[in-house]
Each structure stands twice: as structure tokens, then as C-alpha cells.
């Protein structure tokens, strides 16, 4: 085992995801504590240009192969397993993202390493690693420690400061040969589908009236729309509303939706699961209305109300109409 800290970079459409820099920032602290190098694993095809942005790392391990041109759970998984298997880093940080979810658990089995998921905190000291994970939709936190010295940790996006990972520096770029096995993969990338445009762009709205499960029925959405119209804002939503097809995908705030930073985020009947938090935590003013006083949204909202949203919505609309 080496004392190195590996972070798995993530890129889509030629640009690195924010989570990569968050992992680099945290990885820097961890590598200082373990006494090893901070190594960024970059997988792609003709993507070595991205290494220039990974200056916070001591070294970039670049795996180049046509089968890695677009993210693929099978080929990226096999390449990552080969790198980690050979280099034996002490800690591997992966984003708990769509790509990371395919990689982290697979690496755990392939490299026979423990995985601690949903991490929002990672500390390394004289007595080893302590990882804090957010479980039960954010209602409980647990601290875990790996049994041996080594561990894969999948980190919730937005948990660490990305600015610390955007440092300059010119890391050494080392090419790493992809394993031959990725030539014939049982998963084949077909195409990348961009979101349909045409609907309201909620990232451009200063005021968002955001609805969750608490809206109860599609029939109640006009009430939220009236409030949004009166406030001069737009209606956005958490995942269940989109899954029910009550609003288009373009309105989804969160991990698999969009990230928003409005001046006002009015969360109505949204519990505030970690996946939602990821998408709206940078809003300037967060006001949450939810009848469940234990809803996690109240942990990070600025103002909270436990009254019925069907009472509060019309009362607000009346005051700004």
C-alpha cells in the first residue's frame, strides 16, 4: 500500500465537473495527513488537455483509449480497477454522482476495498480515517471507520470547497495504459442526449417557487404558479414532481436536475433530501414551508414555517398581487 490519495476526475462534454475540484481540495488535506501524493485519475480519449486544470494534484494519471472517449460504466470501471489495483492508493475519493455511483461500488468489489458512501466529511488523523455519511435522506449522520487502512469514499457533491481544488501548479502527467479488456465491452456508449430546451430556464430566475411531494396533486400546481406569477418568479420542483410528470424535467432542482442560485428559493412541501440540497444550497435566501418540523430542509433554510402550504401560498399571493 502507498500513502497516496487518488481522486477520480469526472468530465462530460469536454469540461470537468465541479465535484472534481471539491475532491481535489479535500484530497489535498488528506494527502498532507497521510504523507502521500495527491493523484488525479483522468480517463478519456484525447482528453489530456484537461490535466492542465488539475494543478492542485501532484500527479495526473492519464488513461487514454478510444473506449474511454465517453463515460461508460464498464470501460471506465475496468480502467479504474486496473490503476487502483496496481498502484494501491490508501484512499480513493469518488463523487457520489451518476458516474461515481457506477464506479465506486464496482471498484469496491473489483479491488476488494471497503466503500463508504454518501460522505459529507472525511478526516484523517493519527488514528486513521473517519468518514461522515449522510443517511436516511439526510435525517441521520453516521461516522464510519474502515477496518483496514485503505478505503474508497464516495463523496456527496457540494460537501467540500471547490476553490481549494482549483489551485495552480503543474502536475506531472503520467500516461497509464488502459487494460486490454476494455476493447470488448458488454456496455457500449451510443450517444449523449442533451436536455430539451424551450421551457422556462429556472437557472435564470431570481425567484423560484419550488414544490415537492407536499403539493399532493397535480391539481394544486396552479396555486404555486399563481404565487410564482405574483412574485415575478418561476415554478421549480423536486424529483417526485418530475417523476410524476406533473412538471417537465427542465424544472427539476437537484442532483440529476439543475443547480440554481436564485435570490429567493421558496421551498413548499419539500423535505430537503441531500440530492435536493445539492441543487439549491447556494440560493441567497431560502424559505421553507413544510408541516414536518423534522424535515431536513429546516437545517439549511434561513427561515422555516410549519404551517400548511395551502394556507401560506394564497396568503402570500394576496399580498403581492
Amino acid at each position: 500500500m502507498s500513502a497516496d490519495v487518488f481522486i477520480v476526475t469526472e468530465h462530460l462534454g469536454g469540461s470537468l465537473d465541479d465535484v472534481t475540484f471539491e475532491l481535489l481540495g479535500k484530497g489535498r488535506d488528506l494527502a498532507t495527513s497521510t504523507g502521500g501524493q495527491l493523484v488525479a485519475v483522468l480517463m478519456g480519449s484525447g482528453a489530456e488537455g484537461l490535466a492542465a486544470e488539475l494543478g492542485a494534484a501532484d500527479r495526473v494519471l492519464y488513461v487514454d483509449h478510444p473506449a474511454l472517449a465517453d463515460f461508460n460504466p464498464a470501460t471506465h470501471g475496468a480502467a479504474l480497477a486496473a490503476v487502483v489495483g496496481e498502484r494501491s492508493p490508501q484512499i480513493v475519493l469518488v463523487g457520489n454522482t451518476s458516474m461515481g455511483m457506477d464506479l465506486a461500488a464496482a471498484l469496491s468489489v473489483d479491488a476488494d476495498l471497503p466503500l463508504i458512501a454518501y460522505a459529507t466529511g472525511v478526516e484523517h488523523g493519527a488514528d486513521g480515517l473517519t468518514v461522515t455519511s449522510q443517511l436516511y435522506a439526510g435525517k441521520m449522520h453516521v461516522e464510519s471507520r474502515p477496518t483496514g487502512g485503505r478505503c474508497i469514499i464516495s463523496v456527496m457533491a457540494g460537501s467540500f470547497d471547490g476553490s481549494a481544488g482549483r489551485g495552480g501548479g503543474s502536475p506531472e502527467v503520467e500516461s497509464y495504459a488502459a487494460p486490454a479488456s476494455i476493447e470488448s465491452s458488454r456496455v457500449r456508449f451510443v450517444r449523449l442526449m442533451e436536455p430539451e430546451a424551450g421551457d422556462v430556464d429556472i437557472t435564470q430566475s431570481d425567484i423560484l417557487v419550488s414544490i415537492g411531494r407536499g403539493i399532493q396533486s397535480e391539481d394544486n400546481i396552479p396555486m404555486a404558479q399563481e404565487l410564482a406569477d405574483a412574485l415575478g418568479g418561476a415554478v421549480s420542483a423536486s424529483r417526485p414532481i418530475i417523476d410524476n410528470k406533473w412538471l417537465p424535467k427542465t424544472r427539476q432542482v437537484g442532483k440529476s436536475g439543475v443547480k440554481v442560485k436564485p435570490r429567493l428559493y421558496l421551498a413548499l412541501g419539500i423535505s430537503g433530501a441531500p440530492e435536493h440540497w445539492e441543487g439549491m444550497k447556494d440560493s441567497q435566501l431560502i424559505i421553507a414551508v413544510n408541516t414536518d418540523p423534522n424535515a431536513p430542509i429546516f437545517d439549511f433554510a434561513h427561515y422555516g414555517v410549519t404551517e400548511d402550504i395551502f394556507e401560506v401560498m394564497p396568503a402570500l399571493t394576496a399580498r403581492v398581487t
Binding site: 461500488a105 441521520m140 461516522e143 456496455v187 449523449l192 412574485l231 439543475v258 400548511d308
Partner: protein, 253 residues
């Protein structure tokens, strides 16, 4: 086409969660268990695929509180076959759970395994991907669309910002379902009761096991940080306060 749907039972978050005396686990005394909501989506997608491509749908769960009810509910919704894996232990880790599922499914001649993308308690990893690697079959996670074309599945995987990757996956494969094409169907109590009388749960003894490789040293409610300042009063009084707060914070009304 044989589609297998592994189902996990998880604590019902509508109930208050408490930490037990050990300080490392949930107090189970008042805990209620329910089917992982993403597994409901996986079952729905399996039933929808069966309507298009034919075949059978098998629901499979580890022996746990409410497992029978969850399986009978799956039957009431349309699952053809129900299997309960016994002997996987109390509160198995994600790794142990996936290992038990993988070993059981290996003997079922499955073409496709659909399970929820995640569960609220999978501290050491998500079921779909772990099952895929234990069975050495391909996996794709965060899936919102599946169609079958011969011996391959065409799969849509969600990324942030609404983008999606399309993949062609050689079967058998395991997919972590984020959302089914339709809202998961509801099984009325009467139908579940009928399923309890007519359907049979087969039992399979668990064979292999796996370790999480880590242990919980502490469980706690998240610190509230600053937390929200809570406003009280009538809806009208609250609305008045909220308008003032918005204006004070520079929201242009």
C-alpha cells in the same frame, strides 16, 4: 425474458428516527419498514417491460421484517414469482445484501435484473452495482429508460443538468433504476390480501457472504447548523413576516 427485481426493506422515514443505546444504530423498537421507493420503480419498470416483451417477473427479497408483505404486494401488482432469501443475517451491510442477492439470482437464469438506484440506508454502496460486479454481469446505474432489443437493452442513464447517456447493454445485465416510465402502480389492500392467499413465497437459503469492510462508530442527528429561524402565527401573520423578510433581503417584489 426473465426479469428479477431485488427488493430491499428500509425504515419508513415518515416515522421519527431515534438512535439506540449503542449510539451506532437506529432504535428499531418503533421503526416501521417499507419497500425501498426506488425498488418500487424497478418493479414498475419490470412489469411495463413484461407488457411489451413478455416473460416473467420475479420479486426477490431478503428475509426481514415486512419482507413477506413487500413480496405479496409485488404479487398483487403483477409479479409472477416470489422468492425470499433466508439466512443472510440481521441488518446485513450493502455488500452482504448484494452478495446474497447475487448468489440467489445466479441460479435463476435471469435476463435482466432491475433494482432501485439507491436506498436510504446503503452506507457501503448501492445494490445494483454491487450485484452486477458480484455476478460479473454489466451494470448501469441511475437509469430512467429501458427497452429490450433481442439480447441487448437500450438504456438511458441520467447525468446532472438533465443530460442523458444512451447505452447498449448486453444481457444479462443489472440496472439501477432511478425512475420507471410510469408512476409505480398502487396495490389496494384487498388485492394484497388476495395475493397472500393465492401466491406462494419460495424460500432460498443464502450461501455466500461479504463484509462491508468498515464499521459505524457513531450515529447522530445532523447538527442543525444555524438552522432555520422558525416563524409562527396564522397563515396571514406568517405571510406578512415573509414579505418583510423577502424585501429586507433584497428580493424585488
Amino acid at each position: 425474458m426473465h426479469i428479477v427485481v431485488p427488493i430491499k426493506l428500509v425504515p419508513d422515514l415518515a416515522e421519527e428516527l431515534e438512535v439506540d443505546a449503542s449510539g451506532t444504530a437506529l432504535d428499531t423498537e418503533w421503526l416501521r419498514y417499507r419497500t425501498n421507493e426506488f425498488d418500487d420503480h424497478a418493479l414498475e419498470e419490470a412489469l411495463q417491460l413484461r407488457e411489451v416483451s413478455g416473460g416473467t417477473v420475479t420479486a426477490i427479497a431478503l428475509d426481514a421484517e415486512e419482507a413477506d408483505k413487500s413480496l405479496y404486494t409485488a404479487a398483487a401488482k403483477g409479479a409472477d414469482r416470489l422468492i425470499k432469501i433466508t439466512g443472510a443475517g440481521e441488518k446485513p451491510s450493502s455488500h452482504a445484501t448484494a452478495r446474497a442477492f447475487a448468489d440467489a439470482i445466479a441460479g435463476l437464469d435471469a435476463d435482466l435484473v432491475l433494482t432501485g438506484v439507491q436506498a436510504v440506508d446503503d452506507r457501503d454502496g448501492q445494490n445494483a452495482v454491487l450485484i452486477g460486479r458480484y455476478m460479473d454481469i454489466p451494470h448501469v446505474s441511475v437509469v430512467t429508460g429501458v427497452s429490450i432489443q433481442g439480447d441487448t437493452a437500450l438504456v438511458h442513464k441520467e447525468y446532472a443538468g438533465g443530460a442523458m447517456g444512451e447505452f447498449e447493454v448486453t444481457l444479462p445485465a443489472v440496472l439501477g433504476i432511478q425512475a420507471a416510465r410510469e408512476t409505480p402502480r398502487y396495490a389496494p389492500v384487498g388485492k394484497v390480501r388476495r395475493a397472500m392467499r393465492s401466491a406462494t413465497i419460495e424460500e432460498l437459503a443464502s450461501s455466500g457472504t461479504a463484509e462491508a469492510g468498515s464499521s459505524v462508530t457513531r450515529m447522530f442527528r445532523p447538527e442543525k447548523g444555524q438552522g432555520a429561524k422558525m416563524l409562527t402565527g396564522s397563515a396571514d401573520a406568517i405571510a406578512d413576516q415573509l414579505i418583510t423578510i423577502m424585501r429586507d433581503n433584497g428580493v424585488n417584489l
